[in-house]
């Protein structure tokens, strides 16, 4: 029963996320609403960790293969993409590394400054 309970709690929060998505007309996926709702449920003790942890960690571990099939879809856009390839690559490359550096350095600086006090 343990795994069945865990699965239904996780799918239940996925369903709740989908319902919230129907109610709020924003381009936010159901999974993000579900994440926030499950987090709040854990914080307020409505759900306890033991009711989701095993299946949850399993799902997170296999999450990486869920991005492979959509990535193969790049093949299909190749004919359109090849026309704008260079500017697109330059913009995506520089801005992605830029965001990573700014976010990481600022977060690290703020964390260390707080710890020094």
């Amino acid at each position: 029963m343990k795994y069945l309970t865990e699965l239904v709690v996780i799918l239940g929060f996925s369903l709740l996320g989908e319902v919230v998505k129907l109610l709020i007309p924003l381009p936010v996926p159901a999974g993000i609403y579900g994440l926030l709702l499950l987090f709040l449920a854990l914080v307020f003790g409505i759900v306890n960790l033991g009711q989701v942890a095993h299946t949850g960690h399993y799902m997170i571990e296999i999450m990486i293969v869920m991005f492979i099939a959509p990535s193969v879809g790049l093949l299909k856009t190749w004919s359109i993409l090849s026309e704008v390839l260079i500017p697109y690559c330059v913009v995506v490359l520089i801005t992605t590394v830029g965001v990573m550096v700014v976010t990481g350095l600022l977060a690290q600086w703020l964390i260390r400054r707080r710890e020094q006090r």
Partner: protein, 233 residues
């Protein structure tokens, strides 16, 4: 004789098995080579593309028979709440740093895309196509569609931004001396959404939890700011 295409059209698990086997081979090759570029996802992608070309299977058939895996993306995203809750004290302690750095990163993302699109003389349509490249696919597609971008190209940008972050993170963190686990997780989630978060999880649970948090926060902030930035080009 049945063709491979027939198998993919009629068997609901063909794509799923191919995807997972390709990933396992990718992981194995990655371990043997110890090279950041040859990461398991890239190797899996190349193997799958080669397989589909070789056996003349079209992408639609592959996609449909791998839907069983993709179907779990929503519950897996929901589960990111678990490491986040397990690191709750870390979240509360660093709340200010988390909010400020993710916000700053989001602004840098939007401003730098705007400036570079201007520099390249790209049209408004191309600008709003690239704009949501650092957020998770469903959010990015929604933003692109709403602002009049080319949605399929947006998905391509999101995939590239994700895998680029996945591959480059180790080097980038070394070069810029980013060592704090919290900072690493936030940087990965903010720049490379869910694929970055998967990389963050390889660094550790703290990194993974922060990656998931940054992914959600960046998505929400970008949804709020995108229409404003769209009016600038």
């Amino acid at each position: 004789m049945i063709s491979m295409q027939d198998i993919f059209v009629h068997a609901a698990y063909a794509g799923a098995v191919l995807t997972i086997v390709a990933f396992i081979i990718g992981t194995w090759v990655h371990r043997k080579l110890q090279n950041a570029i040859a990461n398991p996802v890239i190797i899996a992608l190349l193997l799958i593309i080669a397989f589909l070309k070789f056996f003349d299977v079209d992408y639609e058939a592959y996609k449909k028979s791998s839907d069983v895996i993709t179907y779990f993306l929503t519950p897996a995203t929901v589960c990111m709440a678990i490491p986040l809750y397990e690191k709750l004290s870390l979240l509360v302690e660093n709340l200010r740093a988390i909010l400020l750095s993710v916000f700053a990163g989001t602004i840098v993302n939007l401003v730098s895309i705007l400036l570079m699109c201007k520099a390249f003389g790209l049209t408004h349509e191309h600008y709003v196509t690239i704009m949501p490249k650092s957020v998770t696919t469903p959010i990015g597609m929604g933003i692109s569609e709403e602002l009049g971008g080319y949605v399929t190209l947006t998905v391509a940008c999101i995939v590239v931004a994700g895998n680029l972050g996945f591959m480059a993170a180790g080097k980038v963190f070394d070069i810029f001396g980013i060592k704090e686990p919290v900072a690493r997780g936030l940087a990965l989630g903010n720049a490379s959404h869910a694929i970055g978060t998967v990389r963050a999880l390889q660094f550790g649970m703290t990194e993974g939890a922060m990656g998931g948090l940054a992914l959600a926060l960046a998505g929400l902030m970008t949804v709020a700011l995108a229409p404003l930035f769209a009016s600038l080009l």
